[in-house]
């Protein structure tokens, strides 16, 4: 048995023989005698020798001491100890796991691969001298962040809890929302080096079988060294990478994910990140927020419409400004036109350069705001908005109207509930500005046609991206542009739910 090294460690799958000392030495060698590797040798009554191996830090010390070491050392001269000594040596571990150890999650191990996987995941391994195999005792417990508020998706009404980095906590949060037997959790490990735990969650019988199978298939094909965030996986499983639009939805809110599961979607939880993926994802879903359902339907409908309008504003406003002021000045009411002309008198740049300059400046400010240490953050926002904007206008570099346009554009981009979608809008904005500068409104409309063509050809796990607007599915429109009252939304979405799709009866 030699310790191997390399990008993907593999071990011989030999049965663990009962040579405790050799096993311990092998483990130590493989892990490079790492300082956090602890090997605790114990001597049980009647000279039965065992060893407990674990990695300090990722195990829960309480559990380890009370459930394992305590129960082992507390054998004393009891009945169990006597029984143990009389048993055949190869039966010892089984006896210990059946009768002695007070831990909840115990499995026998037969090969090195799973042993190392479990050891490195925070489980304790118990060897018994001259007894083949080993026991894996689940005592994992790493310090984790408490369940807190969502960072990126806040609401005015609705639950305020968010996923955190621990996979187990996240699955627990979902279980709390959906207490149905049909909730399935399939787990995988992805990433050759990181061996990240990934759980695929769905409601059996409600999610479409083909899509579940497809998700598994795509996840299985991922071949990468490490998965540190859901985003890594997202890129691998999406239908098309060459698009500015997201086809996989992500959220750190359990209620959003649970709602998606209820509609027949599939959630992918990745250990180490609070952002959970949801597939398939359609265009309209990036404009929905969980509070739409928590509030009354008329308010929600109006707010949804505002979101769509905001999307158009944030994508097209600078382009329209450029187009109108450059090519179609006649469209403005005369008074406004005179004002604008007066403003632009002193500005040295054509409208499009002005627009691009301001938009790029804004993007720079925005990125800086994200990376800025908190203490300085306030200063930047004040500097950015008031000073630069105002000063630029007074210096005659840009016109005041441009500053207004850029501000509205920026604010509108935050109305979109999903960060991924507003990213797309940011990118498209520049394309439209260029088109508007060259061809005026004609360029804008051609750009729109091209954009809609692109959107119409996208699919998310086989489902047309623009459903339910095209192909029109009347029953789903009630929840896309509008939010009809619950009494009128009787069916689960066509795109994701399998044939059993009545929401209200079973």
């Amino acid at each position: 048995m030699s310790a191997s090294s390399g990008a993907s460690s593999s071990f011989d799958d030999s049965l663990l023989e009962g040579r405790m000392k050799q096993n311990l030495a092998y483990i130590g060698d493989s892990l490079g005698h790492s300082q956090d590797l602890v090997a605790r040798e114990l001597t049980l009554p009647f000279d039965i020798r065992c060893a407990l191996v674990y990695i300090d830090g990722i195990t829960d010390p309480q559990l380890l001491h009370h459930a394992v070491i305590d129960s082992l050392l507390g054998l004393g001269g009891s009945e169990d100890a006597v029984q143990l000594s009389r048993l055949d040596k190869s039966e010892r571990l089984r006896y210990l796991s059946d009768r002695v150890l007070a831990a909840g999650d115990i499995h026998p191990l037969k090969d090195w691969n799973s042993l190392f996987q479990d050891l490195l995941s925070g489980d304790a391994i118990l060897f018994a001298d001259e007894c083949g195999g080993a026991l894996r005792i689940g005592v994992g417990g790493l310090e984790e962040r408490a369940v807190g508020e969502p960072v990126s998706q806040s609401v005015t009404r609705g639950p305020m809890e968010a996923f955190n980095e621990s996979l187990r906590t996240n699955t627990a949060l979902l279980r709390r929302k959906i207490k149905d037997t049909r909730l399935r959790m399939d787990s995988l490990r992805i990433g050759r080096v990181t061996k990240t735990n990934v759980t695929v969650t769905y409601l059996q019988g409600i999610a479409k079988e083909e899509i579940v199978a497809e998700v598994h298939r795509r996840l299985g094909k991922i071949d990468i060294d490490g998965v540190l965030e859901g985003g890594y996986i997202e890129e691998f499983i999406q239908d098309q990478t060459l698009t500015p639009f997201p086809t996989v939805y992500n959220s750190e809110r359990p209620d959003t994910i649970a709602a998606g599961l209820l509609e027949g979607k599939i959630a992918i939880l990745v250990d180490g990140t609070p952002f959970v993926l949801l597939v398939p994802a359609l265009f309209v879903e990036f404009f929905q927020a969980s509070e739409d359902y928590a509030q009354r339907f008329d308010i929600s409908t109006l707010i949804r419409i505002i979101r769509y309008i905001s999307f158009f504003i944030t994508t097209l406003a600078p382009a329209l400004y450029v187009a109108i002021t450059t090519f179609h000045q006649e469209m403005l009411p005369t008074n406004l036109l005179i004002n604008l002309a007066a403003q632009r008198e002193g500005v040295p740049f054509p409208a499009v350069i002005e627009a691009i300059l301001m938009e790029v400046t804004y993007e720079i400010l925005r990125e800086a705001g994200i990376r800025m240490p908190r203490t300085v953050g306030q200063a930047v926002s004040i500097v950015g908005t008031l000073v630069i904007g105002q000063a630029a206008v007074q210096a005659g570099i840009v016109s005041a109207a441009m500053v207004i346009i850029v501000s509205i554009t920026a604010i509108a981009s935050y109305v979109i509930p999903s960060g991924s979608m507003s990213m797309s809008a940011r990118m498209l904005r520049f394309l439209f500005m260029v088109l508007a500068a060259s061809f005026g409104l004609f360029g804008v409309i051609i750009g729109l046609i091209g954009l809609v063509l692109h959107l119409s050809s996208l699919r998310s796990f086989g489902v047309p991206y623009m459903a339910p607007m095209s192909p029109i599915i009347m029953s789903d429109i009630k929840d896309s542009l509008f939010r009809f009252p619950w009494t009128m939304m009787k069916k689960r979405p066509w795109s994701t739910a399998s044939p059993n799709n009545r929401r209200r009866e079973n």
């Binding site: 005026g440 004609f442 046609i449 091209g450 809609v452 063509l453 050809s457 095209s470 192909p471």
Partner: protein, 370 residues
């Protein structure tokens, strides 16, 4: 005869939307002046008559589609007329679609360079349009149709808004005298209505096999065409009512002049550039379908592996052809007035009738043999 080149499927609703877009197509730009030139103040009657005359033509196509539900036009031609004659006719049809598309591109380009973007070179407009056209064709038939579905409500909305905003400017006196010169001018005008909105729909025969047939497909087919005709009627009617017959026939783009007349409260005015969006949309879809018909036709005629590979050469061809198809706008309008309708009729009426006859003859022959 399952077609291997096109795997997409269209729903009946999408077909209906496509028909409306294609009927309005470029007719919204050119039809009012053509019909007014022919029939003066009675041009609106031409639209009604032309629409009525178009129904039998649509029926003929429907019959062909019924006898050969899974074959597109080229396939029907090839199966009925044999290898060599069929191949020649198939090529002929493909070329026809090509020229219609070239004309459409040129019309749109001319419109924009004359009316709105006067300083932009014609070829630049063509290039941009061709680019997005190629983009759409590369995506395939389904995305194009879905795009139409998505734009349709906005298209209708803008049309309705235009019409509503024009109502203060209507002057019914412009419609008199009624039939002062008899029915002949009305018949003349109806010729243009028959061909430009309706007969040029023949390209749809390349798309019909890919429609998911339901019970209401047939009904919706006619209804959609009628709806498109209704839109044209309103447009021509309003042109006459607002601008008067003289201006309508002499203006290059009467509908654009119509849009200029919109003036609500001295605030909502000079919105004609926005209204130009309507023409771009309808012309785009008509051009897209004709381009698609051409590409698919070429692929079918020569039994190629696919049509997408031909998009590149097609763009080059159209870039050139849209420019040389006519040396100037006047010549083009003249051709539209005197010669093109007959070419349309040959392809939309005469040839399909011949095909139907061939089909009937083929049936009789097998009946006799049996």
């Amino acid at each position: 005869m399952k077609n291997l080149l096109e795997k997409g499927r269209i729903s009946t609703r999408q077909l209906a939307i496509l028909i409306v877009f294609m009927t309005v197509g470029d007719s919204i730009l050119i039809l009012p002046s053509l019909t007014a030139e022919a029939a003066d103040q009675n041009a609106w009657l031409s639209v009604i008559l032309g629409g009525a005359l178009a129904m039998p033509v649509l029926w003929i196509w429907g019959a062909l589609a019924r006898f050969y539900p899974q074959a597109n036009l080229i396939e029907i031609v090839q199966s009925l007329l044999g290898k060599w004659l069929g191949g020649a006719v198939a090529l002929y049809y493909s070329v026809y679609f090509f020229f219609v598309a070239a004309g459409l591109i040129r019309e749109l380009g001319d419109f924009f360079t004359i009316q709105i973007l006067a300083q932009t070179p014609l070829r630049a407009i063509h290039l941009l349009l061709l680019f997005v056209l190629a983009w759409g064709l590369a995506k395939g038939l389904e995305p194009i149709v879905r795009t139409g579905e998505l734009f349709f409500p906005w298209f209708l909305l803008m049309l309705t808004a235009l019409i509503v905003c024009l109502t203060p400017n209507l002057r019914p006196v412009n419609l008199k005298p009624f039939l002062s010169e008899g029915i002949s001018p009305v018949l003349h005008g109806s010729l243009y209505v028959l061909v430009y909105p309706f007969a040029e729909l023949v390209a749809l025969l390349m798309v019909l096999p890919y429609v998911n047939r339901k019970a209401n497909t047939k009904r919706d087919y006619y209804l959609a065409a009628l709806f498109g005709g209704l839109i044209m009627l309103i447009i021509v009617l309003f042109s006459l009512l607002v601008l008067g017959p003289f201006l309508t026939s002499n203006q290059v783009y009467p509908t654009y002049a119509l849009a200029k007349k919109v003036n609500i409260g001295n605030f909502l005015q000079r919105v004609e550039a926005v209204v130009a969006i309507i023409w771009v949309l309808s012309t785009f879809f008509k051009t897209a379908i004709h381009s698609y018909a051409f590409l698919l036709g070429m692929a079918e005629t020569f039994k190629l592996q696919g049509y997408r590979r031909l998009i590149g050469p097609y763009v080059l061809l159209q870039f050139g052809m849209a420019y040389i198809i006519t040396p100037n706008f006047t010549f083009y309008t003249d051709v539209l007035y005197k010669y093109w309708p007959f070419w349309d009729l040959t392809n939309a009426l005469l040839l399909p009738l011949i095909l139907l006859a061939a089909h009937a003859a083929g049936r009789k022959r097998t009946a006799v043999k049996a």
